[in-house]
């Protein structure tokens, strides 16, 4: 899907002076950053910091990602949850210096589906953690990170 430049409304910084409501939320945006969770070093510690007591493995969570990433700087990952009333999806990378990579809040009416790209320090398990109805579920997939090219 190529981004057709002409079809896209290009908004400059001036957009900041948007309706107060949005501006308000943009300003409060920065405060909601779960520093503790983003500094945890393991799957279990991250779960605790996210407020999860326990998390049960579920085959209702699908992780689409390559088995081998040619470069750890950009690893495409898609997570889709078939668990009813999914409210949040988090991405955890076990062997990264900080395990928690991202936490997406999924409001009513938004698909429990998210694609993004993460950095992986080395071959590792990637966990997708889903919160649905206040309960936590997870699935995992190992992604091998290889050394491409003849650098190194």
């Amino acid at each position: 899907m190529d981004f057709k430049r002409r079809g896209i409304l290009k908004a400059g910084g001036a957009m900041l002076a948007l309706a107060a409501g949005l501006l308000h939320s943009a300003r409060t945006l920065a405060q909601q950053w779960n520093k503790a969770a983003f500094e945890t070093k393991s799957f279990a510690a991250t779960l605790k910091a996210l407020g999860a007591g326990a998390s049960t493995e579920s085959n209702q969570i699908q992780i689409t990602a390559p088995d081998i990433a040619e470069n750890g700087a950009v690893v495409p990952i898609t997570i889709e949850s078939a668990i009813l009333r999914t409210q949040a999806i988090a991405i955890l990378i076990e062997k990264n210096p900080n395990t928690l990579s991202a936490d997406f809040e999924i409001p009513e009416g938004t698909d429990p589906f998210i694609t993004t790209r993460v950095k992986m320090a080395e071959t590792s398990n990637i966990y997708a953690v889903v919160r649905a109805d206040g309960k936590y579920f997870h699935a995992a997939k190992e992604i091998k990170v290889t050394l491409g090219g003849c650098g190194g």
Binding site: I68, T146, C150, G152
Partner: protein
């Protein structure tokens, strides 16, 4: 690769019409020297001048006629300096590190105290655990298991790493020993990686 008769080879070497090959080569040498003027001066001096082997392999595009190939091969073989101790097998663990390491001799490699790597995995499959390997060179997996680990093979592997052209004129493989890229000790570690029965290559 079938050997082409000599006459065809000569024709191939001067295949382009227009200025003769020598004239085009002289012009290219001048353009080359004028295109690396802002970078590292020592490195420029080294690449501006080709040694005889580099010049011949360039001229014949790595397919030298038999007589030229024999001359290159025998000169290379005569130039190999084998370890005075006669000990070819170093430590395969250090060999694996050298084979993985691509550091050294690049214009960004400022730390001249750090030893050069061999970068062998760039072109060869070696230990089975490494899935990110190259295929410019043949697979060396199970090299010792397939070819034996006695002194003649050790001597061959040492010589091949020291100066690959002693065994294949105009080989793509760098002359690691001859060009001073790897030390004698580093080469013995690589020999061990390929031939030590304990090395993962032979498991």
């Amino acid at each position: 690769m079938k050997r082409l008769p000599l006459v065809v080879l000569a024709a191939l070497a001067g295949c382009a019409s227009g200025p003769s090959d020598d004239e085009a080569r002289a012009r290219a040498e001048q353009v080359f020297r004028e295109s690396f003027t802002h970078g590292n001066r020592q490195m420029a001096a080294r690449v501006d001048q080709q040694d005889e082997v580099q010049a011949l392999c360039t001229r014949y595009r790595n397919e030298a006629p038999q007589d030229v190939a024999d001359r290159i091969g025998s000169a290379a073989a005569a130039g190999i300096r084998y370890p005075a101790s006669g000990k070819f097998l170093g430590d395969w663990r250090q060999g694996e590190r050298i084979a993985q390491d691509g550091y050294g001799l690049r214009f960004t490699d400022a730390d001249t105290k750090r030893p050069n790597g061999g970068g062998c995995y760039n072109c060869h499959r070696i230990a089975p655990a490494e899935i990110s390997y190259g295929t410019i060179g043949p697979s060396l997996y199970r090299f010792g298991a397939l070819r034996g680990t006695g002194e003649p093979v050790q001597r061959y592997v040492y010589g091949k790493i020291y100066d690959s052209q002693a065994f294949l004129a105009c080989s793509h493989m760098p002359r690691f020993g001859k060009n001073g890229v790897l030390t004698e000790e580093q080469i013995t570690h690589l020999v061990a990686l390929l031939l030590d029965p304990e090395s993962p290559v032979n498991k």
